[in-house]
């Protein structure tokens, strides 16, 4: 046998002895720092927005000094982005499934109007009205989810339609009448619950801010540590593969949209705390603002990739720019211009990071 090994029996096998004998392996070369960064970012999608957030905080801190870099001003930014952060959490869930939710702001306003009008028009106790607001928010979300999952309609179209429907219903039902802050404080203070504050030195945390942070942390846990959360990612990445792997795609999608509706209702309640009154004209741009936070936060609009913490950083970046630029006294248009640049930058970075897998 040994003889056979060294002396190929067949003529055409004679060249075999010259061929490679080591075990097959991937080609390895030393990674450049840039490639290593690409890998780290691929594993931690919230890093990019976090870095941008820290840089912009330092930048405005240097430019403006203590006017900006104080506990009060920094917590003020949190207050100003609380609504966007909560709506952004709802948006994140839907975007992770490769969908988009354009009716978030309308659901938020509708829920807040129901909480207010049920109390003041029909005289229901505030807790019941609040539950009704949540029920309506959840119901609208459920209908969205049903149309997307069962009827297989594109999320963009479904929520575009729902946005118009809910907003029109909101104006018709409320007759565009505002319920004043002072009336709410006197008769149904529970509606303004999230306007309450906790002070620590110069820092001011409203209950709305605390609710937003808790919501994002809980959802971050659910999305990364539970089976349901991983299913959401799986559906966004490849719904067919998820289905074959045993994920109940339709059911999970409906749950995602319903949960997103409920979160929007929460945003509606927090909104009353923030502006004091119940105003049917509030939150007109909440959908765009939430999508902006999600995109700057590094969550892929193609689904299945990104971290909800990134969304929070994205919302904060927008908040930092808005307050910082106002304190510098620039024309408000510069804020929009810079945010536009950030959006495109964020998506470009996302595309670059994706190449790591390809």
């Amino acid at each position: 046998m040994a003889d056979a090994k060294s002396q190929p029996t067949q003529e055409f096998e004679r060249v075999l002895k010259d061929s490679a004998t080591e075990v097959a392996s991937f080609e390895r070369h030393r990674k450049s720092p840039l490639e290593r960064a690409q890998h780290v970012l691929h594993g931690n999608p919230a890093f990019v927005p976090l870095i941008v957030l820290v840089i912009s905080l330092l930048l405005f801190g240097l430019l403006l000094g203590t006017k900006f870099f104080s506990a009060f001003a920094l917590t003020l930014i949190l207050q100003q982005v609380a609504i966007t952060g909560i709506v952004g959490a709802a948006q994140t869930l839907v975007v992770l499934t490769a969908g988009i939710e354009l009716s978030v702001g309308a659901i938020m306003v509708m829920s807040s109007v129901i909480m207010g009008q049920f109390t003041f028009r029909y005289g229901l106790p505030a807790p019941i009205s609040i539950l009704c607001g949540f029920a309506v928010g959840g119901l609208i979300g459920y209908v969205n989810g049903f149309l997307v999952a069962r009827m297989k309609l594109p999320p963009f179209i479904v929520t575009l339609g729902m946005w118009q429907i809910v907003l029109a219903a909101n104006f018709l039902y409320s007759k565009n009448e505002t319920i004043r802050s002072q009336d709410i404080a006197a008769q149904a203070p529970m509606l303004q619950l999230f306007g309450g504050q906790v002070r620590m030195g110069g820092a001011v945390f409203t209950f709305g801010v605390i609710a937003m942070v808790l919501l994002v942390l809980v959802l971050a846990y659910v999305l990364t540590q539970t089976a349901w959360g991983r299913h959401v990612y799986a559906i966004g990445d490849d719904p067919d593969a998820a289905e074959l792997a045993g994920v109940k795609v339709e059911k999970t999608l409906i749950q995602v949209y319903t949960l997103s509706g409920l979160i929007c209702a929460l945003a509606g309640w927090v909104l009353i705390g923030r502006i004091g009154s119940v105003s049917p004209t509030a939150g007109q741009f909440a959908n765009i603002e939430s999508i902006t936070a999600v995109v700057i936060g590094g969550i892929s609009l193609f689904g299945g990739r990104g971290s909800i913490l990134g969304m929070l950083f994205g919302a904060l970046i927008v908040g930092v720019f808005q307050l910082g630029l106002r304190l510098l006294g620039t024309d408000p248009q510069w804020t929009y211009l810079l945010i536009g640049l950030l959006i495109i930058f964020a998506v470009a970075v996302d595309q670059w990071i994706r190449k790591v897998a390809g």
Partner: protein, 341 residues
């Protein structure tokens, strides 16, 4: 929901009834085209027009854009009115430049077109304009604020809560009117933000709602925590500003002034949230508009401008419970009887 829908249906039925009755009594038909059907300002306007139309036997049809800024629907409405053989159109333009061409076609067809609340651009593109003098509205609250602050006016710290970054006409007129009344050099009176008076803390935009009012106030307080006078474009923005002041415990020592005269705003004057507000009268704009169309149809006479102004002034009144000498005002109690929304 059902209650609201039912009421809406009843109102529509009543309007329809009035319309047909009017059309039988006289051959004068008119159209009212507003920005939206949901803003209380336009709801009140519609109410005034319908009541006057019924009284004068004018057939009135009403139209509105779907949302603020919906020029397309207003163009369609004008075309419908022309086809319908209306004698006059009352129009609240949502895009005062964009609608001019359609207005011209209607006027060429022999229809009297009156702009309500917002002038067209150019203003003489319409036969007449019935509107609030927004500069005067701003001037009144400016004068009141100056008198109220007394000696403190010389070193007041003033925050300006405006409407939109694009500075629409109403925004500029109210803002610069306030400055004129308060005694601030406005420099170019057509531009907000070119002033160099050291009493100005800054300008920020609010979108005319509570949310924007609160955020803008927070931003300006951050710029200068010693703000003690706040000009606001309208009462929802004022309500938002008040919430921001309340959250830092400054609501007691800051004076807020505003413009509009909506019912929630007037109630806020009664409760001291807003120091003074300039009230405008959408109902009068509409009812005077109907009268003008009727007169034009009967006699061919065009409405007259208020002497010294480029439009017909439908009046503006200062509402405050702390009247000052030299500035005419009415109390919040009287204001509540005339408020809208």
């Amino acid at each position: 929901m059902t209650f609201g829908t039912l009421r809406g249906a009843l109102m529509a039925a009543a309007a329809f009834g009035a319309m047909t009755a009017g059309a039988q009594a006289a051959d004068v038909n008119a159209c009212l085209i507003t920005k939206t059907d949901t803003n209380p300002f336009f709801v009140k306007m519609k109410e005034g027009a319908l009541a006057k139309a019924e009284e004068l036997g004018v057939g009135l049809k009403t139209y509105a854009g779907k949302i603020e800024g919906d020029n397309e629907s207003q163009v369609q409405a004008i075309e419908t009115c022309v086809a319908d053989g209306a004698k006059g159109i009352l129009l609240v333009p949502t895009d005062s430049k964009g609608i001019v061409e359609s207005v011209k076609k209607a006027r060429d067809a022999g229809i009297l077109v009156i702009a309500l609340d917002t002038p067209l651009d150019p203003a003489d593109a319409a036969d007449a304009t019935f509107a609030t003098d927004n500069f005067e509205a701003g001037r009144l609250i400016g004068e009141w604020a100056k008198a109220t602050l007394g000696d403190g006016a010389a070193d007041a710290r003033i925050a300006f809560l405006d409407l939109l970054p694009a500075q629409p006409t109403v925004d500029v007129l109210r803002d610069q009117g306030f400055m004129t009344g308060f005694g601030i050099d406005t420099k170019n009176v057509a531009v907000i933000g070119d002033e160099d008076d050291s009493r100005i803390v800054g300008h920020d935009v609010t979108n005319g709602n509570e949310e924007g009012g609160r955020t803008a106030m927070e931003n300006l307080l951050q710029q200068d925590p010693m703000v003690n006078l706040v000009y606001t474009i309208n009462e929802p923005a004022a309500a938002g500003a008040y919430e921001a002041l309340k959250s830092v415990g400054r609501e007691g020592d800051v004076t807020i002034v505003s413009v509009d005269g909506g019912c929630p705003g007037v109630k806020n004057v009664a409760e001291g949230v807003i120091g003074a507000t300039s009230q405008q009268y959408p109902l009068i704009m509409a009812s005077k508009g109907i009268e003008a169309i009727k007169e034009y149809a009967d006699t061919g006479k065009l409405p007259e401008k208020t002497p010294g102004k480029e439009f017909t002034d439908t009046g503006v009144t200062l509402i405050t419970d702390k009247p000052v000498e030299g500035v005419d005002s009415i109390t919040s109690q009287e204001g509540l009887e005339k408020c809208w929304g």
